[in-house]
Amino acid sequence: MSDSTGAAPLPTPLHDAHVALGARMVPFAGYAMPVQYPAGILAEHTWTREHAGLFDVSHMGQAFLVGPDHATTAKTLEALVPAAIVELAPGRQRYSQLLAPDGGILDDLMVSRPTDAPDGWLFLVVNAACKDADYAHIAAHLPASVSLRPLDDRALLALQGPEAEAVMVALGAPVADMKFMDAAPMTLLGSEVHVSRSGYTGEDGFEISVPADAAARLWDALLADVRVKPIGLGARDSLRLEGGLCLYGHDIDVTTSPVEAALEWSIQKRRRVEGGFPGAARIQAELANGPARRRVGLTFEGRQPAREGAEIADRQGRIVGRVTSGGFGPTLQAPVAMGYVEAALAAPGTELDVLVRGKPLPARVASLPFVPAGFRR
């Protein structure tokens, strides 16, 4: 097995566990990852929405950004992302994007401010496929007093779904008082872990950063709970699509700005006013005047899914955009898609056609997320 780069895919610390569970392993972003277990994508998707799904996301990049004090580290990161990091309170997490000089998105990432690390440390989680480029980009923009420390010896597990909290509490994790986008250190099964109340499914849940040598024990302990089943990348994709969440390299990339991508909620007011991030002039102009195109959700009349790359037309047949993610939404029992359309056609309810194998599929712009979020706010 090999991925597109030709190198053998790397195993995560949970590789043997996936194989033992009968997972179908595929190369993804340089790693051998489980795309599905024997239950299949539909069953895994539904289980996560109703109970608790356990995901191995150890392929993602975890790193500390380390400076002499919070203000210095936060300002260093603010030069690369449009989110307000200086105001990020200890124990809180924020979603943002690394931006190119023209405001295009180099990657999206989660930033948290640990409560147990020294002042001046930030914890970053970036996409697997981007991590080497992200690390090089960040390292190239650091003052002498700030350094980037990739953590190659940690696994990342996600436990997602309405029963995730009860499962964590049963294992002794003090998470009941955590709210959406809180982050806390804790001891779990004798290991020091970092837990955030966040994820990539639209459900309540947690991401658990754990030392690689303790990952299999935690995985097994979580799976021993009857409310938990293992979930592969296939269901992770359908869950995040129903949740209206962007997949880097598909819904967002260097050609899209955060405003085009409808991610301006992640740019706090001070940053909008002050700028000071890459592409600020373009992004401030798009915030003031509206972008030329906009990421939207699409729903369909029939059962036929529209896939990434399908063209979107207005009812007169003029091409007005393109699908960036699309498939069948198992919870909705209907096809769903996201894509970019001309801004004038981005209002929910707008009737469009998506061209699939030359045939127009009637579609309608829908509000995102498709499935209401289960976040514990």
């Binding site: 795309v35 299949g40 994508i41 994709d237 359908s238 059962r303 069948f328």
Partner: protein, 122 residues
């Protein structure tokens, strides 16, 4: 007799009628099937030409006609119940029936033993 293609379609030729679908191996590789587009009755299919589309949660795949012929029936149950292809791929989940001429070209098709060996070699 049931014959198989290297693209994982099966076909049963009975007189001048050929019934085809996708194999159990194919459905297990595709995973949960959520949409099937069967060919319209009256359409002439070329051997090896595009005949149908099957979509799993993950991806769309084309299905090719194992033999040439005119579509005389399509399995309309699959519109409302595409999962039938997962449950009964080589019986109730058939895709279409073709009217084939005598001496239809089956030279590149495999019998069951040969197809099993082919799958095992993948």
């Amino acid at each position: 007799m049931k014959l198989y293609t290297k693209d994982h379609e099966w076909v049963v030729i009975d007189g001048d009628t050929a019934t085809f679908g996708i194999t159990d191996h194919a459905q297990s590789q595709l995973g949960d099937i959520v949409f099937v587009e069967v060919p319209e009755v009256g359409r002439e299919l070329d051997k090896g030409g595009e005949a149908a589309v099957v979509e799993s949660v993950k991806a769309a795949s084309e299905v090719y006609a194992p033999v040439a012929g005119e579509v005389i029936a399509a399995n309309t149950r699959l519109a409302d119940d595409p999962g039938l292809v997962n449950l009964e791929p080589e019986s109730g989940g058939w895709f279409a029936k073709l009217k084939v001429s005598a001496g239809a070209d089956t030279s590149e098709l495999m019998d069951e033993a040969a197809y099993r060996a082919f799958v095992a070699s993948l």
